[in-house]
Symmetry: C2
Subunit: 529 residues, 2 copies
C-alpha cells in the first residue's frame, strides 16, 4: 500500500494544512516518509458530522450485520500482509515477531467482539410483561435494553500500535456497541495508522455501512484532540496514554455543556507482593520470573511490574542477588519513541539521585539511539511511605523493590498505594492467612488481582478487567480489554407499552434473535414469552 499522508474522513482522503507529522525510526533516528499534515477544527467538524449522520443507521444494524463488519475489519487487516508488519516495526522499533503477535491479538479481539455482539449479553435485555389484573394498580408492559451512546473519539496508544490503536480494543468495543468511531492517530506510528485506517474504510464499503462509521484524523499537539472531545456530537472518549494526557481529556469532557464519559487508561506501577513462605521457598525462580516480566518489550507495558514488596531478610537478599544477576544479562532494547526514551532516562536519573534509593542492578547498553537499559532499584518502606515521587510510574524496564520491616508494614504500604491496573501476590499454601489480609486492600486498589504469575500478558477474554481506580484509569467501573469493554459505550433505555412493530427486534415477543433475558427478574435463555 502506498501511504499518502492524508486524513481519512468517511470514505474520502484529504490533505490537511497544519504542521507536518513524521514518524521517526527509533532504532536509527531517521524520518520515515511520508509526512502527515496535521488536521484541525475543519477536519474534526467534517468527521463529526459524518459520524452523527451514521449514528442511528449504524446502531440499528442487526447483531449479525455488526458482527460481520467486525470480522471484515479483521480480514482486511490481515490482507495488509507483510507491509503492515514492516512499516509498524520501522515506526516503533518493535521486532516483527512481536508485531505479528499483536496483529493476531488485534484481529482476535475484533472476532471476539463479533461473537459478543451476536450473543447479545451486552444488551442486558429485560422484559416485564403487563399485569393488567394487578391490584391496587395494573402494571404496563416494560422492556429494557442497552443502546449505543453515539459517536466515540478514540486516541491511539504508542505502545500497542495495533492492539490499542486505530482498530484496537477501544475501536472494536465501540463499534461492537454500535457507536461510530473517530480515531486520532498516535503521531508515533502514522503510517501503521493509515494502513489500518484504509483497511477499516474497506470494511465499511464492503459491509455497505454509512461512511461516517469510521474516520481517522492526524494532529500534532493537543489542538485536534481537544477539538474532537469538545465537539457536541461526540458522546464518549477512549484513551490510552499518559496521566497528564488523560486528565486533560477528563477536564475537557467535564467542562462541556453536555459532559461525556472519558475512559482513559493512564498510569500504573502494578505492585507485586512476595509473601514470606513463597519468597523463602522460591526466591531464585521468583527473581528470574520477575526480571523476565520486567524487561519484556523494554518494559513498555501498562502492566509492567514497577514495584515489588517483601519483608527484609535473607530470602529477600537472595531474591535481590538473583535479580541483579538476571538483569545484568538483559540486552538493551529500542524504545518506542525518542520522547519515551527521554522520559525513561529522566525517571532513572531521578531514582538514582534519590538518597533513599539504591541501585541494585542494570541491564546491558550500547551506543545505539533510544535504547532502554533495564534498571532495578531498592528502597525502604519507611522512605517510600514519605516520598510521593517514588510512586510515580517510570515507563520502561524499571522496578523498585520495597524492603518492609514486617508484614504489617507491607499492609501499610498497600493501603497507601494509588489505584492500579493490577496487583500480584506470590504465595504458597502457608501464606493463605496473610493473603486473606491483603486481598480486600488489593481489591480496592486494582482492577485485577493475580496470584503466582506476572502482570504482563493480558488475556483478551470475558473475565478480564484491564482497569482500576484512578489514576490507573479515569473510571474504575470499566475495562478496556475483554468483552466487558463494550459496556463503556452503552446506556439503558426502557420501552414502556410499545407495540411489537415499534419495539427493537431484540426485545420482541418470542425472542426472535434468541438472546438471554431477565424475564420478570429471572434469567431466561433463548426463548421468552
Amino acid at each position: 500500500m502506498k501511504l499518502t499522508g492524508q486524513q481519512l474522513i468517511g470514505q474520502s482522503s484529504f490533505s490537511a494544512s497544519g504542521t507536518l507529522i513524521w514518524a521517526i525510526n527509533p532504532a536509527t533516528g531517521e524520518k520515515l516518509q511520508p509526512g502527515y499534515l496535521s488536521g484541525g477544527h475543519s477536519e474534526v467538524l467534517h468527521a463529526c458530522k459524518l459520524a452523527e449522520a451514521a449514528s442511528v443507521p449504524f446502531r440499528t444494524t442487526s447483531l449479525e450485520e455488526r458482527a460481520t463488519f467486525l470480522e471484515t475489519i479483521a480480514t482486511e487487516i490481515e490482507a495488509l500482509g507483510a507491509d503492515l508488519i514492516k512499516r509498524c516495526s520501522l515506526e516503533t522499533g518493535l521486532p516483527a515477531a512481536r508485531i505479528e503477535g499483536e496483529r493476531g491479538r488485534t484481529c482476535g479481539q475484533l472476532r471476539l467482539f463479533a461473537s459478543v455482539v451476536r450473543a447479545g449479553e451486552w444488551l442486558d435485555a429485560r422484559i416485564e410483561p403487563a399485569l393488567p389484573e394487578r391490584k391496587p394498580l395494573p402494571r404496563t408492559d416494560l422492556r429494557q435494553q442497552n443502546i449505543a451512546l453515539g459517536p466515540v473519539a478514540v486516541f491511539g496508544a504508542s505502545n500497542f500500535p495495533l492492539a490499542f490503536s486505530v482498530a484496537g480494543g477501544d475501536t472494536a468495543s465501540a463499534l461492537a456497541a454500535g457507536c461510530p468511531v473517530i480515531v486520532k492517530a498516535h503521531s508515533a506510528h502514522p503510517g501503521t495508522s493509515e494502513m489500518v485506517g484504509r483497511a477499516l474504510q474497506n470494511a465499511v464499503t464492503k459491509c455497505q455501512l454509512p461512511e461516517g462509521v469510521f474516520s481517522l484524523l492526524y494532529g500534532s499537539g493537543n489542538e485536534l484532540g481537544q477539538a474532537l472531545v469538545k465537539d457536541p456530537r461526540i458522546k464518549a472518549v477512549g484513551f490510552t496514554g499518559s496521566r497528564n494526557g488523560g486528565v486533560a481529556l477528563m477536564k475537557t469532557a467535564q467542562a462541556r455543556p453536555y459532559p461525556i464519559p472519558v475512559y482513559a487508561e493512564m498510569s500504573s506501577i502494578n505492585p507485586v507482593f512476595l509473601l514470606p513462605n513463597a519468597l523463602k521457598a522460591q526466591s531464585v525462580s521468583l527473581a528470574e520470573g520477575f526480571v523476565t516480566s520486567l524487561s519484556m518489550g523494554a518494559g513498555q507495558f501498562c502492566t509492567n511490574p514497577g514495584l515489588v514488596l517483601a519483608v527484609r531478610g535473607k530470602d529477600l537478599d537472595q531474591f535481590l542477588t538473583t535479580a541483579e544477576k538476571a538483569i545484568s544479562k538483559v540486552g538493551a532494547q529500542t524504545m518506542l519513541t525518542p520522547g519515551i526514551h527521554q522520559a525513561y532516562t529522566n525517571g532513572i536519573i531521578s531514582l538514582a539521585n534519590n538518597d533513599s534509593v539504591q541501585l541494585q542492578g542494570k541491564g546491558k547498553i550500547s551506543d545505539l539511539p533510544n535504547l532502554c537499559q533495564s534498571s532495578l532499584f531498592v528502597t525502604k518502606a519507611n522512605d517510600f511511605l514519605v516520598d510521593e515521587k517514588l510512586r510515580d510510574e517510570v515507563f520502561g524496564a524499571c522496578s523498585l523493590v520495597i524492603e518492609c520491616d514486617d508484614f504489617e508494614q507491607m499492609l501499610t504500604v498497600a493501603k497507601q498505594l494509588e489505584g492500579q491496573l493490577t496487583a500480584t501476590l506470590h504465595m504458597d499454601d502457608s501464606d493463605l492467612q496473610a493473603a486473606k489480609g491483603l486481598l480486600p486492600i488489593l481489591e480496592d486498589t486494582a482492577g485485577r488481582v493475580l496470584v503466582n504469575g506476572w502482570p504482563t500478558g493480558v488475556e483478551v477474554c470475558h473475565a478480564m478487567v484491564h482497569g482500576g481506580p484512578f489514576p490507573a484509569t479515569s473510571d474504575s467501573r470499566s475495562s478496556s480489554v475483554g468483552s466487558s469493554a463494550i459496556n463503556r459505550f452503552l446506556r439503558p433505555v426502557c420501552y414502556q407499552n410499545l407495540p411489537q412493530a415499534l419495539l427493537p427486534e431484540t426485545l420482541r415477543d418470542n425472542n426472535p434473535v434468541g438472546i438471554s433475558h431477565l424475564f420478570d427478574g429471572k434469567r431466561v435463555s433463548k426463548t421468552v414469552k
Copy 2:
C-alpha cells in the same frame, strides 16, 4: 418516637453546633419542633471514618446477610407506624394516603433489592478456567465479578420524602451493592429523616453489622454536603434535586484528587408527542388524561409532562379546549416547601410575561399559603426553537403545549431537546410510520420511551430506567429506580489464578451460591464447574 434534632452517626446520636434547621408545615407556614443543629466538617469526618471502617466487612457479607439487612430495614420502617405518616405529612403537605403509598413503595423497593442481592445477577460473574494445553500460550484461570465501590454519599430529595430520601432508592441500591451509606437529610423533612434514620440504625444493630454502614447528617446550605463529597473516603454520590445542585456536586467530585462518579437526577420536562391519528381519534380523552397526569401531586414529579407537541389544527384545538376545561376544575394543592412554591410562581410569571406564550388555562386557587395553581400555556414551535428559556423546567403543575406547523417541525423540535427522563408517544396503528421516525430521536433523548400512557408513575422493577442524558441526569449510563440502580455502585475485579480458598465464595468452583455465570462467554445458570 420522640425526635431529638440530633445527627445520627453510626450507632450514636450527637448534637451539632451549626445553624438550626426547622421543618416548616407548608400548609400553615408554622415551624415544626424540634430544630436540627447543622453539622459540619467534624460530623462528616466522623461519619466517613466509620463508613471506611465498615467498608470491607460490609461488602464481604454474604448475599443472604445483606438481603436480610434490607428486609429488616423495611420491617423497621413499617414499625414506625402512623407516627411516620403523620410527621411526614406535616413536613411536606402531602396527604396521608400518598405518604402511605410511598412508604409501601419504599419498603417494596428495599425488598426488591433483597431479592436482587440474592439472585446475584448484579455480580456479573464470569469464569474462564485455565487451559494449560492451549497453544501457543496456555491460559490461566480467570474469574471476574463486581464489587462495591465503597462509601456512598446520598442526598435526599424533597419530593419523595421516603422513596428518594433516607432509605430511598439510592440508599437501598448502594446498601444492596455492599456500600456503606452516609445520607445528608433534606432540610425540608428532618423529622421524617430522623425517624427513618433510627429505623436504619435499628436494622444495623439487629443484623449485627458494623455501625459505619449507615449515618445520617443534617446541614443547612452547601457546606456539609460539599465537605461530604470532598472526603477522600467517599467513592460515589447519589443525588436527586435541582440542576444547579447536581451540577455543583459533579464539579466538586471531578475536582477531587481522586474523582468519583456522581449520579444526579436533576431536570426533565418530559415531552409528550401527540401523533396525528391518535390526536384525531382521542383528543378529548387525551386532554383529560394529560391534565390528570400534569396536576397529580401538584405536579411535583420528575416525570411531570411539562411539554406537549402536536401539529396545529382542529384536533389540537379540541385537545386544548378540553384541557382548559379540565384544568379549571383542578383544586389547588399545597406544595412541598415555600421555596418550591416561590420558584413555581416565578416560573409561571416568566411564562405569562413571555410575548410568544399564551395562557390556555388555570386551575383553582385560594388564599392558603404555598398553593399550586395548575397552569397550561401554549406557544408556537417557531418561537420555542429560538427561545431557550422555554425549555427550562417549571417544577410543579405547569405544562407548555407546542403547536407545530407539521410533523417535520415536530421532529426538528424533538432533535433540539435536551436530555430527558422520559419521552411519550400517543399513537394509533396508523401513526406507526411517524412513530418509527421519532423513535431513534427519542431513544437518544430519554431514558424511557413510552407509548399511550403518561410519564408520571414510575414502576419499581427490573426493566425500569429512571435516567437519561444530561441534564436529566449526570450519567446516562445509569438508572436511579429499579433493580439496575445497583449497577451504579459497583466496579469489576478480575481474579487471576486465585486458589479456591482465597476466591470470593460467589466465584468458586461448583457455584456454591447458585448464581448465573458467563462460563467461557456462555450463559450458565446455577451449577458451574
